[in-house]
Amino acid sequence: MTFLNAIFRNLFSRPATRRYPFVKREPFPGTRGQLAIDPDRCIYCGICAKRCPANAITVSKTPSKSWTLDNYRCVICGYCVEVCPKKCLTMKQDYFSPK
């Protein structure tokens, strides 16, 4: 008897799930989805690469300046965003999806 309320609520309420590929949930503000860089502001100091707990970032100055991220190693902790001296790293809310 005690479950009758729940049964009726379940019958007449919307499903708890979404029709996923067609209906996507908007990410919450503040969600750590994936890392993004503004290359114009980056000074290639390499602090992010040194601090990254997962060794996901590689920065080199020679022969050419490059900043690369291995998305499959990244644990999306956001530590690099905190330590970046130029604040050129940001967290995007949407998750990384393999192409």
């Binding site: 005690t2 708890a16 919450f28 503040g30 750590r32 707990p53 530590y79 967290m91």
Partner: protein, 359 residues
Amino acid sequence: MARKSVIPFGPQHPVLPEPLHLRLVLEDERVVEALPSIGYIHRGLEKLAEQKDYIQDAFLVERTCGICSFIHALTYCQGIEALLKLEVPPRARYLRTVWSEMHRVHSHLLWLGLLADAFGFENLFMQAWRAREEVVDLMEVTAGARIMLGMCCVGGVRRDLTDEQLAAVLKSMDKLNRQFDDLIPVILKDYSVQQRLRGVGRISRETAYERGAVGPVARASGVARDFRETGYAAYGELGFVPVVETEGDCYARMEVRLAELYQCLHLVRAAVRKMPSGPISVTPKGNPDGEYVSRTEQPRGEVVYYLKGNGGKNLDRLRIRTPTFANIAPLLAMLPGCELADVPVIVLSIDPCISCTER
């Protein structure tokens, strides 16, 4: 006398979320002995921790467990803070408590779903996991990730909660409370749940104590031991009293966890209402030197971290004793005498987390 036969239970078994292997010695359908073997998913995490610096390790130890990740980071950070003699700001302690209790809610609901699934109660499984989604979403709103919050750092926490977010937390707690009111009395009174859990896998208070049971397994047998009583983080200021049952069977273990669900809501509400203002972290200075044993209460029981620093950035040794490891010995006392069909339920009643255990 019936002939004895030995059958393997796990590491791959439909009911097991993680690879625990038990060799069961059976007489007909009755278990007479159980022999465990673990080590299928060892990851060498403690060794890796020696190669990362002590700030990075906070993110690494969080990945010991995919269910109670925040509390692992909390235990580690409390240990390092003790070695560095850091005073954590009060607001950080309260925020740590809020996230710890959210983790406990999601862990207990996940366990409830898995237990229901183990004895074929699909409906309850779905109801529990739907309620869990609420708290997992709440963690994403407040911390930016569903499980791996990454919010605990040496010296405090990494993100502050605004007043709106704190109000949202309280609102979610009310919503969860309503869902629990619908769900929990039904589970406790349900005929089939009682049939499957009452009197199954019983261990006495003495056995639980002697075998070193921790967490809900110990508390269901009447051992009133909960590390939150020592008042780490903000627990000392929230009026915490452990939940204790005395029956010692699977049903009592479920009762303890279900009562803890309400208790978690109470603790989160109390922490949010008492939330002091001020800074959320202090910058760590120097490197850890010396030894420290850091302990906290996880959803599954007491976790022990042994930390040894040498004055450098890297730790000399990090040792993790997880609650499931402590609960395997009591599990072996629960199994003899039970029916083979009850083994999955008994195994799940200790809430096994094997990837923690093997690190």
